[in-house]
């Protein structure tokens, strides 16, 4: 046995859904953004590891078709890389920037689908387009929230999940999980604030 038991202490990178979650620490978001902007070769791979699922899921849930979602995901990362000079880490995080590009690409797909649908329906199309834009925004917010939820540690994630999706009150949650009521209340508040911060940073309808 060589070099056993060398695991580093972990912090906020949650164990959740996406492979992206723990590729880099949460705290190094800014570092990833900075190396991305500088065009460092590994930055695109890391950005993809970290946000590929976010971009793909938004595209998939907005567009339905897996093939379209794959095309959009490829386009998003290629455009992000091509346009990295215009990315300003001071103005917002990498996730927010990628989300904005995803939104544009998804909207492009809707437009081209409408063109294919023909000029006859152009008038209705205009109306449909604005409805679709709203729908895309909702998808983005939900996916961003799910992403952050997956990044919460335990027991925070379990507590807030029970609070969101069951009828249990906070003291019932405390009894169920055998945790002090005060702990549950404070986790609920902090998790809600964390989700709110992430939504305000990377979501669109705020």
């Amino acid at each position: 046995m060589i070099g056993r038991k060398d695991s580093a202490a972990e912090d906020a990178a949650g164990p959740g859904g996406a492979v992206t979650a723990a590729v880099m620490e949460r705290s190094s978001d800014g570092d990833l953004a900075a190396v991305f902007q500088k065009g460092r070769p590994e930055a695109l791979a890391l950005a993809y590891e970290r946000y590929g699922a976010l971009v793909y899921t938004i595209a998939r849930r907005s567009l339905g078709e897996a093939a379209d979602a794959e095309d959009v995901t490829q386009q998003v990362f290629v455009s992000a890389w091509r346009g990295r000079d215009s990315f300003d880490p001071e103005r917002g995080g990498l996730a927010a920037w990628l989300t904005a590009i995803t939104r544009n690409k998804v909207t492009d797909v809707f437009r081209s689908r409408q063109r294919e649908a023909g000029a006859l329906r152009a008038a209705v199309g205009q109306q449909a387009a604005s409805g679709q834009a709203t729908a895309v925004d909702q998808v983005i917010d939900r996916v961003v929230l799910s992403d952050e939820l997956a990044r919460l540690g335990e027991p925070q994630r379990l507590i807030i999940t029970l609070a969101f999706y069951t009828d249990l009150t906070h003291d019932q949650i405390a009894r169920t999980l055998r945790l002090p009521v005060g702990t549950v209340k404070s986790h609920i508040r902090r998790s809600l604030l964390r989700l709110r911060t992430r939504l305000e940073a990377d979501g669109v309808s705020h």
């Binding site: 046995m1 060589i2 070099g3 056993r4 060398d6 695991s7 580093a8 202490a9 972990e10 990178a13 949650g14 164990p15 859904g17 996406a18 492979v19 979650a21 723990a22 590729v23 880099m24 190094s28 570092d31 065009g39 070769p41 590994e42 695109l44 791979a45 890391l46 993809y48 590891e49 590929g52 699922a53 976010l54 971009v55 793909y56 899921t57 998939r60 897996a66 979602a69 995901t73 290629v78 890389w81 909702q138 939900r142 929230l145 799910s146 939820l149 997956a150 540690g153 999940t161 609070a163 969101f164 009150t169 906070h170 209340k185 609920i188 508040r189 809600l192 989700l195 709110r196 939504l199």
Partner: protein, 252 residues
Amino acid sequence: MSHIDPEVLALIALGEEAEGPDARAHLARCPHCAHELRALVSVVTVAQQAGDSGALESPPPALWSRVAAHPDVRAGQGPTMAGGHEPGPEPGGAAGLRRRRPAWRRPAAAAVVGVVAGLIIGAGGAAIIHIGQQQAPVIHVMGTSALRPLPQFPQWQAASGSAVMQTSPAGLRLRVTVEAPSGPGFFEVWLLARNGVSMISLGDLNRRHTGEFTVPPGTDLHNYSRIDVSLQPFNGSTAHSRISVVRGALPS
């Protein structure tokens, strides 16, 4: 007037009854608390719309190759990226290694490492450390690779993982993350030799299924070119259990 306790406000946003009429009366006349409540309610609303099955979907494995192969990406990235990160069943370890050594000795990185090496001995574990005026991270990410389940273990088909190789003042560090349901036992990370038999144990993953390991100095990475993550039963045996959860190329 004192505002509503933020913890109570969070519970109200979740639909719990406010304790007593005071809170309701306060909300009616306090713009600050009303604003906070609206913001929290909108978070709760998005969460409930998203549903608890809203887990993100990973893009299909081949998609990264399409991104990496795009002409604009290849042109912008140079040779490190063009082949080094493509997830494939058996990426060429040799090609990766030839790039690995020069990267480690790259003058800029080496200079930074030299400057700070003495400062952070014993500080191990931090992912990225900035020292004083130095903006370059001391720990340099060399590459990432995807870890995938093997066809002969159908019970792990939903598993996935990733590995990041970093240089640090102390040597090569490998960060491994696995996404898999916990099983009866613990996850152990191994370097697997080309003959598919010889293995070096790097260590165990923590409760969050991640770990960061020092690659033993002097390891022949040309030979030990793959990563294997096993599920080890708690039976006291130090040998590989023969249950591989995911496997992948050592990142270059």
